[in-house]
Symmetry: C2
Subunit: 315 residues, 2 copies
Amino acid sequence: MKDKFYQYIQNLQDQICKGLEDIDGVAKFREDIWDRPDTSAGLSTGGGGGRTRVIENGAVFEKGGVNISAVQGKLPDSMQKLFNVGEADFFACGLSLVIHPKNPMVPTVHANWRYFEMYDTSTEFSTGSRKVINSWFGGGQDLTPYYLFEEDAFHFHQTCKTACDKHNPDFYPKYKKQCDDYFWNAHRNEARGIGGLFFDYLKETEDQSMGDWYNFVTEVGNSFLDAYLPIVAKRKDLPFTQEQRTWQEIRRGRYVEFNLVHDKGTLFGLKTNGRIESILMSLPPHVQWHYDHHPAVGSEEEKVVKVLEKPVDWI
Amino acid sequence: MKDKFYQYIQNLQDQICKGLEDIDGVAKFREDIWDRPDTSAGLSTGGGGGRTRVIENGAVFEKGGVNISAVQGKLPDSMQKLFNVGEADFFACGLSLVIHPKNPMVPTVHANWRYFEMYDTSTEFSTGSRKVINSWFGGGQDLTPYYLFEEDAFHFHQTCKTACDKHNPDFYPKYKKQCDDYFWNAHRNEARGIGGLFFDYLKETEDQSMGDWYNFVTEVGNSFLDAYLPIVAKRKDLPFTQEQRTWQEIRRGRYVEFNLVHDKGTLFGLKTNGRIESILMSLPPHVQWHYDHHPAVGSEEEKVVKVLEKPVDWI
C-alpha cells in the first residue's frame, strides 16, 4: 500500500503542478529534492526525503508549494504521546499544498493527502519484514477566501460532496464537519476559512478495507483541480484596490496564526526533523498585522468575517 | 508586594511611552483599557484586566505596544502542568513591550517585567486573607537587529550588565545566558536576536529576599530606556534601500515564528484567556516569507545571520 500510494501522490503532484502552471501562464514551479537525515531505527537507507515544488511571483500565484515527502524512522517522543503509543517505528508519506494567489478575489487553497504506517520495533526495519501494527489515511482540502463569492463556496463544497458521495453518503457531512472543527482558530474564535473536507485515522473496518480507503482518498485527490481551478479562472482577472490587497494581507496573518499555533501537520513536520523550508512554504509571501483591526460595518470585508464566525452549510 | 509592583509598572509604562513618543516626534500611543472576563475561583471582582498602549505609523516606530496587565483566577490546567502543581489560584501582573521600528537599521526591542503569586485554593480568594504558597519575579530585555552595529550590541549589553552588577556580579553572565537559551528559534537553529537578559522564577532564598528581587527587577526596568533610546537616536535617520527593507520584513518573519511557536509568554496569554489583541500586538506590521531565502555570501545580511547562529559575548 505504501508504494502504491507514494506512486499515486508522485503522479498527482505532476498533474496539479501542471494545472496550476497552465492557469498562471507565467511562473513555473522550481523543484528541490531533499533527504531527511536520520539514522534512528538502524536505517541503512536514511530517513527518507521529499520533492518540494514552489511557485513564486507568478501572474496569478504569488507563492505556493506542492510538496511530497516520504519519511520513516523512530517515532519521536512527542508523537508517541500524540498517538498514545509507546516506542514504534513509522513511515509517513503525503502530498501537501498551499497556494496563495496575488489577487484578493482568488481564495487561498490548502490540500493534503497522506498515509501513515506504524511498526512493531521488535521486527527488522531494513528487511521489509516489519510487522505493521497500524496504518491509516488522512487528508482533505479547504478554501480560504478573502472576499466571499457564495457560488465559489458552493462549487468547492459541491465538488467535495460529489467525490465523497461516490463512496458513502455519510462521508461529506462527516468530513465537512471535521474540517470546520479542525481549521478553527480557537484564540480568534473564528474559522480559518470556509472549510471543505478533513479526515484522519481512516483505518480498516468491517465496512472499509484499506483498499476502499485508498479509492476514497485518491478520489478526493483527483477532485482537487476541479474544485479549485474554475474558481481561479473566474476571479483571477477581477480588478482590486490597494485597500482590498491590505485586507488580504491582514487575513493572511490569521492563516499564519493558525499554521504556527494550531496546525498538527506543521507540528508533526517540526517535531520529526522535517525540512523547515518545505514545511513553512505554507506561509504567505506578504502579511500584515494591524492592532485591533475591524472591518467597517456592512462592508464586504465584514461579510467574510461573519461567515467565519459560524460554519455554514454551503449545500 | 503585588500592589507595590503593579504601581511600579504603571509608572514605568508612562515613562517608557513618553520616552518613545519623544523620540518618534510624530505618533502618539493610543490606549485601550480592558477587563478580563473570568468568574472562576468565585471572584466577585472579575479576572483583572489591563492597559494596552499601541503606537502605529510613527516617524520612527512602525508599530509597537507597551502593555500592562494584572490578571487573577483559577490556574488553567495547561498552566498547572507547566508549573507542575495541582489546583491553585493565581495572580500575575506585568509590563510587556515590543517595538518594531520602520528603519531596518534600528533594531526591534522586547522587554518584560512580571510578578506572579500562587495561592492555596482552600483559603478565601475575595477577602485578601489568601495564603500565598509561592511567588516570583520574571522578565528581561532583548534586542533584535536586522543589520549589525557592534557598538549598539555592546551598548545594550553594557547597560544590562551595569544594572545587574549593582546587585550581584553573577547576575549578568547568568541572565545573559538564559536569554540566549530562551530566545532560541529551535526549528531554525538560530537565535531570535542578539539577546540581553532573561530571568524567571526569582524566588526568595537565603541570600535574596523578595524585596531584594524587587530592587533588582525594577533596576533592570529603569535601565530600559537607557539601553534602547541611544541606539534609536543613532540609527533612525540612516538611509536605507527597498532591498534592506525587504530583508527586515523577512527577518520579522522569524520573529513571528518564535512568538507563535516557542514563546511561553504568548502561550500563557492565549491559555489564560488574555486579550488577544494585546498579546498579539507583538507581531510586526509588515512581514514577508520567501521560500528558502539566503543572504548573499559576504553581505551585511549574512553577517547578522552568522551572529545569530551562536551566541556572542558582547562584553
